[in-house]
Symmetry: C2
Subunit: 583 residues, 2 copies
């Protein structure tokens, strides 16, 4: 061992001890007759002191030559500092160095190894191995480890068994976003990397494993939106002989356990909201309920006057922005421009100031009188001093726009507090989703999601209204998990395929393997998967996942550190029986 | 929840309770007026009873119609059994059924779901989801979970941080056995799946993570020998600021922890053996030391007579087979034929019986007298009643042959007891290995393995004699882990590349990325990786890994259950910018 203690360990009680430390030179100050070096390792920083009157001249000289990020080992005595630093755990002591060994030199790092670095995203990613030396990234990785350990301990204590499912699996016809892997031993054939272990976890239920989980990498070759990764990690779970309520119980328990263990927060029963309610109140199936600004539907109180824009709209809907009645015309115009950006897509926005004196001032005063506007305030819950913002148009589109505005305002007004946690179950998702392009219904989750028995009769008459035993766990406006109860009987499954527009042959071709397995005694089962990257980021009080992944890829799916993907040798292609197109 | 209790839970103390159980019909016995059904779930089996005098006629009828592996839910009362079964935990009770719901039917399974099944390997693999219902496979998976949990708890308690390294990495020129993944977004470019996270774990040390581990899938596209998998799991570890002794300490501690937690075995300090000694005593760098039969080198006591075979041999070496002096001529001939099989490749074998009366009877009595043979006995440690078997020829080849024979005899004589555990460190591996094909030295482990400082001077004069700071952990004759201290300074690294025959340019091209990272303050570091599949199998008292993997592939790298790999659509190939050769 190169050290007797870590750099985060020594305290005043260790005074006079002879210690050996090893680590990186964080920084040094050379006062001529004295040199101080901050020595850093994963566990902290300890100040070293070299002093002309007490330190050997050769060592003194060596200390003066140390550059940033040099790796050294020192021996010395723990002494009490003259000027203590209350901001660091080791701030009461320093080590008077008697021996110094240079273990390795370092080139000057391309950015400073500080909490607030001068390095931009690109350079930090290229030198990720230096970026990880910085506390924010290092701590994010340590935090992730803690989260996964707690997840594993909690689920194991409930008899869940972690089972590793294969990574080299089979591409499916609908697997357009599969990464594939040519097989050298089986020329012309390919494995696929799993988009999720969905099939395997259901097979494990058929296999009687009863309670399965796995923290597992999944792969999706899709065009990357911001903050998506081609490889990502799921906490994947499945249970047998359970109903929806049991799954919600277990994973609410898991989330509560994490919040308790990590933030010492006690959160009682999570609120639940149906998909319909979430859409109505927040325009969003993953609402951030840390703050209000619930939607107020205004059709009833706006469509009786001559304002054609509202009268022709399927939906008129508003929110009350707290304490914003004082916004200037310029501020309001900026908000109007914001919702008109193509990313949001509104055509305009109406506002109404709820003045302190109880009167109202709106951009549509020509059409609506004080009595009308009072009803708007009532519907949106606006109080004196608030600002009502109103959008109108097709229902889904308008809700989505207003939701974007609500979230933006939540951010701007500091209502989305990173260390406040507001979990929420969104339940009763629709079973089917209309797809404009193929002009047919698709399974909103996947074709094995079970419909609610009481809605089955709607499958023919009003398929879009059929609700599923499907649920999402939402945390602070992010979907962190989702799942469903699966169909386990073949009659329901056949019915589903029919309504999804699969012929018996197509269903057999695409899902036959699992359906065959189901013929050997499939138990009732269901499950859920958490996105670990996002869960960890949100629990860590952040919204971007990148620092919670040790070696992330950029938006082009590239690892800029190792420069992957890259071309490979023709000989290697030959051996795999493949060739490049257009070559 | 479909049940109030599991099928492994009820005891005599539960008598009279009303319970709900759910599971699979293991078997049923129909005595006409009475029907018994064994109901099985992951946790055990509970006997259900249906009785004409106490059970509703309709339910009675339904019970009679239940087939094997049907999935049912029952409600009923726990009653004391008339004839108890001491062999099952629930054997004192049964459940008198009052309600029965058929949850799912099952086709007749293609093999019996019993500990000893009538299904062959192929059919069991094809229906692995049924095979896992069998106790031996189910228990192996539960056991694997327990092992990984204990590994994670132990390493976490020592400040190791589990970090997920990427799966989509870069193919390296020497990565002939890389699986590659075409990138759709980066046409003509490929990711590679990691053969191990070696580069990344060393980068994590450069990054200051100090103590890293990961239980991680690795991939190798090699022709599969028996009991190898194209995807396999490693417990991968790396530490900074340590010496070899520290690594041996930590992972000896881990292994001891597992043996204690799993088998309640206390094993004191693991013995250590140099590579040279292992080769000399056991002809093998992973000796099974659960039994003796150490090699006795016989050159000194055989090469002074007229037996040309021995006189011309580089090595004459024997083992004493305990209590085998009574072997018949036929038995001995069979052993001679066994070593002459091409898989072993000996040209012949000499034997010497150590008779009970202290005399000797050998197949070469013509050349050696009793006094000579007494020396053989002394060298091999043979006692009266033992049988000495002697091979001769080139040193390495002969040792390998005799090692194969020793292991075979260990098996035949029942000396390799599955529930006896004999760990062993093999240390001081050679740094370099001569490769006949390329007529040069190769790194035995990898090119970053550090040579022993005291052997550095031999690099020029006798490279094959240079020992490395490399070590294997051997358990019961299997290498379960191995690793090394890495080179962290560029002078030694440059020297190594020179001796491995890399030009500066070649070294830069193949290893430049890691070498560059090392210029920013690489700490002294080293590590180790365990093969989880094998470790688990051996801890579970077995030698084959297949049942400890939920969904293994066969020797052709195929998953016969899902039928992967398989061909994919031309459209998909097009989108990936690749095509098949010879098409």
């Amino acid at each position: 061992m190169y050290r007797s203690h870590s750099c985060g360990e020594l305290r005043i009680a260790d005074t006079n001890k002879e210690v050996t430390l090893a680590g990186w030179v964080q920084k040094s100050r050379d006062k001529g007759f004295m040199v101080w070096v901050d020595l850093r390792d994963r566990y902290g920083i300890t100040q070293l002191i070299f002093d002309e009157s007490r330190t050997d001249a050769a060592i003194m000289q060596q200390a003066k030559s140390l550059g940033r990020e040099f790796v050294i080992q020192v021996k010395g005595q723990v002494i009490e500092r003259e000027s203590k630093n209350a901001n660091m755990p080791t701030g009461e002591i320093e080590v008077l160095v008697s021996e110094l060994e240079l273990l390795n030199e370092s080139q000057i790092p391309p950015f400073t190894i500080e909490d607030d670095t001068d390095g931009g995203e690109d350079i930090r990613m290229k030198y990720r191995y230096l970026d990880i030396r910085r506390n924010p990234v290092k701590n994010a990785l340590l935090f992730r480890h803690k989260v996964t350990q707690e997840v594993r301990n909690y689920l194991s204590s409930l008899d869940f068994c972690e089972v590793e499912t294969p990574y080299l699996i089979k591409s499916t016809p609908e697997g357009a976003r599969d990464f594939v892997v040519p097989s050298r031993m089986n020329p012309g054939q390919f494995y696929a990397l799993p988009q999720s272990p969905q099939t395997f976890k259901q097979l494990l239920m058929v296999a009687g494993m009863d309670r399965y989980f796995q923290i597992v990498k999944c792969f999706r070759d899709e065009d990357l939106r911001a903050d998506r990764q081609p490889e990502f990690t799921q906490i994947d779970c499945e249970m047998s002989f359970i109903e929806q309520e049991d799954i919600l119980d277990v994973f609410e328990g898991l989330t509560r356990h994490l919040l308790k263990k990590i933030h010492n927060l006690d959160i009682s029963k999570f609120p639940r909201m149906t998909f319909d309610e979430a859409m109505r109140k927040y325009g969003n199936d993953k609402p951030d309920i840390r703050f209000g600004m619930e939607f107020g539907e205004l059709n009833a109180v706006t469509q009786h006057k001559d304002f054609a824009v509202f009268n022709h709209a399927e939906l008129v809907v508003g929110i009350a922005v707290p304490h914003a009645a004082g916004y200037t015309r310029k501020q309001i115009d900026e908000l109007i421009e914001w919702v008109k950006r193509p990313q949001v897509g509104a055509t305009g926005m109406v506002y109404c100031k709820c003045e302190a004196d109880g009167s109202f001032k709106s951009s549509v005063d020509k059409f609506y009188d004080q009595e009308d506007l009072a009803k708007w305030a009532a519907a949106t819950g606006a109080k004196a001093g608030d600002l009502i913002l109103v959008l109108s148009g097709p229902t889904l589109k308008t809700r989505t726009q207003l939701s974007a505005l609500r979230m933006e305002l939540g951010n701007r007004l500091g209502l989305r507090k990173p260390h406040e946690f507001a979990p929420l179950w969104v339940i009763d998702f629709p079973l089917l989703e209309w797809d404009e392009e193929s002009a047919r219904y698709h399974a909103m989750h996947h074709p094995f999601t079970s419909p609610k028995p009481e809605d089955m009769h709607l499958l023919d008459s009003d398929p879009g209204k059929v609700r599923a035993n499907a649920y999402d766990l939402v945390l602070n406006g992010n979907e962190i998990g989702g799942g469903s109860i699966r169909i386990h009987d073949k009659e329901t499954q056949a019915l589903m395929f029919k309504h999804l527009g699969f012929s018996t042959e197509e269903a057999q071709e695409q899902f036959g393997f699992l359906m065959n397995a189901f013929q050997y005694g499939a138990p009732p089962h269901g499950g859920l998967a958490f996105g670990l990257d996002r869960l960890t980021a949100i629990l860590g009080g952040q919204e971007t996942i990148r620092d919670f992944i040790a070696f992330p890829k950029n938006n082009a799916g590239r690892d800029v550190m190792i420069d992957a993907p890259s071309s490979i040798a023709t000989a290697q292609l030959d051996e795999l029986n493949i060739g490049l197109k257009n070559k």
